[in-house]
């Protein structure tokens, strides 16, 4: 029965937090379907540890760590191929928005500019400014040193400022 209860609780967690996890994955990957794959992969990796993690900690943080590290490692394996493919995904995959062409274009440009960052830089940007994590929290999620987070952050911001995909007023 305890196993059934774990399964039920896990399903409840997925139902409640699945969309939020997908949004983080979407910002990381720039592709709706790749984001879903990433969330599924992370959850599948984490489910076997459900009872251990929930007994002593925050399962969502654990899932997020697996999600982000899985993404950066996937990217490393795919070497340079991810950038071109994801750019295409962004430009084809963006639905129209009600808030005007300028806003749409500006966000699309941010999306494309994000894809020009390395996976590590993108992960740092999403964790710091979407997840609102501190430098130390970001370092713990990614399993790297705080110094690495700081250097990746500086490089990411510098790259975004230089990005030709962003207009002057937002750089």
């Amino acid at each position: 029965m305890r196993r059934d209860r774990s399964a039920e609780a896990f399903d409840e967690f997925v139902a409640a937090r699945g969309d939020a996890l997908w949004r983080s994955a979407f910002l990381l990957t720039g592709d709706r379907h790749v984001a879903e794959e990433l969330v599924q992969d992370a959850l599948a990796r984490c489910w076997p540890h459900w009872r251990r993690v929930t007994a002593g900690g925050d399962f969502e943080s654990y899932v997020r760590r697996v999600l982000f590290t899985t993404h950066t490692r996937r990217w490393r394996r795919r070497a340079g191929h991810a950038v071109a493919g994801d750019e295409v995904a962004w430009s084809k995959d963006r639905p129209a928005s009600a808030d005007g062409p300028d806003g749409v274009e500006q966000r699309r440009d941010l999306a494309v500019a994000l894809q020009d960052l390395s996976a590590g830089q993108r992960a740092v940007v999403v964790l710091r400014w979407f997840e609102d994590l501190s430098v130390d929290e970001t370092a713990r999620v990614l399993g790297v040193s705080s110094g690495t987070v700081k250097s990746q952050t500086a490089r990411a911001l510098a790259a975004l400022r230089r990005s030709t995909h962003l207009s002057e007023e937002v750089r």
Binding site: A7, F10, D11, V14, A15, G18, D19, W22, R23, S24, F26, L27, R32, H33, A35, E36, V39, Q40, L43, A44, R45, C46, W47, P48, V66, T69, T70, R73, R76, R77, A79, G80, H81, A84, R94, P95, S97, G103, Q106, R107, L110, A111, G120, V125, V126, W129, F130, D132, V144, S145, T148, L157, L160, R161, V170, R171
Partner: protein, 368 residues
């Protein structure tokens, strides 16, 4: 508005404007089943570990004869069809049953390396690995024939194996009818191969090595992909991942046959990495020098010369003609690489070639 505020708002807008694909909720709750399957396989390794523990304290022969059957994975069934060998991906759906009885049907037409994951008790995916992008389509059954020997059912017999930090590997087997099955193995730890619910004790290194050797032979007579889009490799190393992605397939000179976009990378005294392209002439000179001065060393701590050039570390890097990252690195003036079968080779450039390489770097590191 600061750029950080703008970034925060932009990211929130981006994330909120899109929604997961239709059916996401149903699919994502289904991952528990996949997780359970993963756990069963992991338990197989734990069980294998326990068996080896017994083997450590009891004479091995006694354990083997008492508990293990000797069998082969070859089954009576032969699958036929007209599937194009190698025309499948690691994501291909697995055949129903997926060799749950430990036996693979005859009629395999291709074998593809699909993952190398950290073993039990080690940090997951600690070092990134570049898998071979091509499938093995020759000598496939010869490789699979090595999945034999002593067997033990998954999860029944306790074993304990030393955790040597090695990786578990997974290969997808394609059949003539287009169906795909999976085998998993390990080159260290218990050194086993798992087929369905059966462990083939100690078969891992032989199967893995045979795959690497057969794929190298296949490449030697084959044609690399014509549509390869190779970007120059990044010379900068991640301090947390200084070795970068490691290719499964060994990268061995001659460099002219091996590399697309060759570069010389080096780390200066301030630990900053730099890179410069190597011309075809540079590569030819280096290849000739390697051919003349190549040596193999068992003792990898000893081969360095007395004098070091100004760089802290250097490497010849690039992308293989098959699309994999190549990093032939070294310290001081000695470069080293592995042949993938345990052999380590080293090359210390002749003074003339070293000078030529240093001239390439001096244009990059000299003060402006």
């Amino acid at each position: 508005m600061t750029d950080e505020t703008w970034l925060r708002q932009g990211l929130a807008d981006l994330a909120e404007r899109d929604a997961p694909p239709a059916g996401f909720g149903e699919r994502v709750t289904g991952v528990r089943t996949r997780g359970a399957r993963r756990r069963r396989r992991r338990n197989a390794w734990a069980a294998a570990a326990a068996v080896a523990a017994v083997a450590l304290v009891v004479p091995a022969g006694v354990v083997v004869t008492d508990r293990l059957d000797r069998s082969s994975n070859v089954a009576g069934e032969t699958i036929t069809g007209d599937a194009v060998p190698g025309d499948f991906s690691c994501d291909a759906p697995r055949a129903v049953g997926d060799a749950t009885d430990g036996a693979l049907p005859a009629g395999a037409v291709a074998l593809r390396m699909c993952s190398l994951a950290a073993g039990p008790g080690t940090e997951p995916d600690a070092t990134p690995v570049a898998l071979p992008p091509d499938a093995l389509v020759s000598d496939v059954e010869a490789v699979l024939a090595l999945v034999d020997g002593e067997t033990v059912p998954v999860g029944t017999t306790p074993r304990m194996c030393l955790n040597d930090g090695s990786r578990l590997w997974s290969m997808a087997v394609q059949y003539a009818d287009g169906s795909v099955r999976t085998i998993e193995g390990d080159n260290g730890f218990c050194r086993d191969v798992v087929v369905g619910d059966t462990i083939y004790v100690g078969a891992g290194p032989e199967v893995y090595g045979a795959f690497i050797a057969a794929l190298a032979e296949q490449r030697a007579v084959g044609t690399p992909p014509a549509d390869l889009v190779a970007s120059p490799p990044a010379c900068e190393r991640d301090p947390d991942d200084p070795f970068g992605p490691t290719a499964v397939m060994p990268a061995t000179p001659p460099l002219g046959d091996l590399l697309v976009e060759p570069r010389l990378c080096w780390q200066d005294a301030d630990r900053s990495w730099h890179g410069t392209p190597l011309s075809a002439d540079d590569v030819a000179v280096v290849d000739a020098d390697i051919a003349a001065r190549l040596s193999d060393h068992e003792d990898v701590d000893a081969p360095f010369g007395d004098e070091c050039p100004p760089w802290r570390e250097a490497a010849i890097a690039g992308v293989s003609r098959w699309g994999e990252p190549v990093w032939i690195g070294g310290s001081c003036a000695t470069f080293q690489w592995s042949d993938g079968r345990g052999g380590v080779y080293s090359w210390t450039p002749s003074p003339d070639v070293l000078e030529r390489l240093l001239q390439l770097t001096s244009t990059q590191v000299a003060p402006r």
